[in-house]
């Protein structure tokens, strides 16, 4: 298990022009490392469906590398999406799962069967082109560059340290961040997409 910030710090070196879609408690740290905000997409969430929206982005932009940093609590709400993604085989889609084994944003309660689920195994058996799992930072650092050169859809499950929030939402301090509409607009401008 290692820090999500180490995942992002490592990934950033190989990002290139990829569109990056972070979700969940761990995903919030991406903005500390991103150097191309116009290609960062905040898709929000709706009971785990950010993964579905990310698939739509990947299918609509086949010439762009699309990288999602998903969360296991969200994925569990919508596991069928693994089959949906595998069914369409988006070659440009890299699906990272930051697995902190709990609902960090609601106080750290464990997700069902938290320590015993093989998410990479699920993705592979659903039909992803490749799937990996890491719980050691050194091993991740050694492999991530090659993984990002592979043909998608690729699934990468990573055990990360939870950072539990236990304050009522109204009392939490939030770093100002761009909302979904703003990030969509910025990405569309970046890519020259009009008419929507």
């Amino acid at each position: 298990m290692f820090e999500a910030t180490d995942v992002f710090k490592t990934f950033q070196q190989y990002r290139g022009d990829a569109i990056v879609i972070p979700v969940g408690t761990s995903g919030r740290h991406w903005r500390e490392f991103s150097t191309n905000e116009n290609r960062d997409l905040n898709l929000g969430g709706a009971m785990g469906h950010a993964t579905s929206a990310a698939l739509g982005v990947a299918l609509s932009l086949p010439d762009e590398k699309v990288v999602m940093f998903d969360a296991e609590g969200a994925l569990l709400m919508n596991l069928g999406i693994l089959a949906t993604i595998a069914g369409k085989q988006p070659k440009n889609f890299y699906h990272f799962l930051l697995d902190n084994e709990c609902y960090a944003t609601t106080g750290g309660q464990p997700v069902p069967n938290a320590q015993n689920i093989n998410y990479a195994g699920m993705a592979k058996e659903a039909g992803y082109a490749a799937a990996y799992q890491f719980d050691d930072l050194e091993e991740f650092v050694l492999n991530v560059e090659d993984i990002l050169k592979q043909t998608g859809p690729v699934f990468i499950a990573i055990k990360v340290v939870p950072h539990v929030e236990n304050e009522p939402i109204g009392r939490r301090q939030r770093t100002p961040t761009r909302n979904r509409t703003e990030t969509v607009k910025a990405l569309q401008q970046e890519l020259g997409i009009t008419g929507s």
């Binding site: 997409l41 898709l43 929000g44 969430g45 709706a46 009971m47 469906h49 950010a50 993964t51 579905s52 929206a53 990310a54 698939l55 739509g56 982005v57 990947a58 299918l59 609509s60 932009l61 919508n78 069928g80 999406i81 089959a83 949906t84 069914g87 369409k88 979904r180 509409t181 969509v184 990405l187 569309q188 890519l191 997409i193 009009t194 008419g195 929507s196």
Partner: protein
């Protein structure tokens, strides 16, 4: 062709309306009444069919396609629409997304008492979410689909098309 046959909503009419409105993708879970439509859609070179695993996915996948400049349509049944509420909220209503979603109206009947509870809740569900809808029961209603697209584009909101299954001939 009998008068009854002429009245039946043809799947080809639905596709013509999609093409006329620039649709690029149909995100769908087939229902029991739409197999022929599914086969027909797969044969269209201008259309990409995306089979989903659950209806809530269809709204979110469609939003992602919209972000990338495409024009998607969701094609689902009313049972699945009921389970899609939060996805419709998050990716449709809260996202200024001019989505047309086509819903098979299982249990709809104009002639008598509705006995299927999913039909009883279909229109109240849409009303609760503030989503306008057009009912298509027969082939001559086909142009209502274009009205739905026009309204979605003008309001930047999702609009539903309800397919009254008592009349449509999609299951050949």
């Amino acid at each position: 062709m009998s008068e009854e046959q002429a009245a039946i909503l043809r799947p080809e009419t639905l596709l013509e309306e999609f093409q006329k409105n620039g649709v690029t993708h149909v995100v769908t879970i087939p229902d029991s009444e739409t197999n022929y439509l599914y086969e027909l859609m797969k044969d269209q070179p201008w259309l990409d069919v995306i089979p989903a695993s659950r209806e809530g996915e269809t709204f979110a996948i469609s939003f992602g396609l919209f972000v990338g400049g495409k024009v998607p349509v969701c094609l689902i049944q009313n049972t699945g629409m009921l389970e899609s509420g939060d996805s419709l909220r998050g990716y449709g209503l809260d996202s200024q997304f001019p989505l047309v979603f086509v819903v098979g109206y299982r249990g709809w009947t104009r002639r008598g008492k509705i006995t299927d509870s999913v039909a009883r809740y279909t229109e109240p569900f849409l009303t609760a979410f503030g989503v306008n809808y057009y009912l298509v029961e027969q082939n001559s209603d086909g142009d209502r689909i274009s009205l739905a697209f026009e309204e979605a584009r003008a309001t930047k909101r999702p609009v539903a098309v309800l397919i009254g299954d008592e009349y449509h001939g999609f299951n050949r």
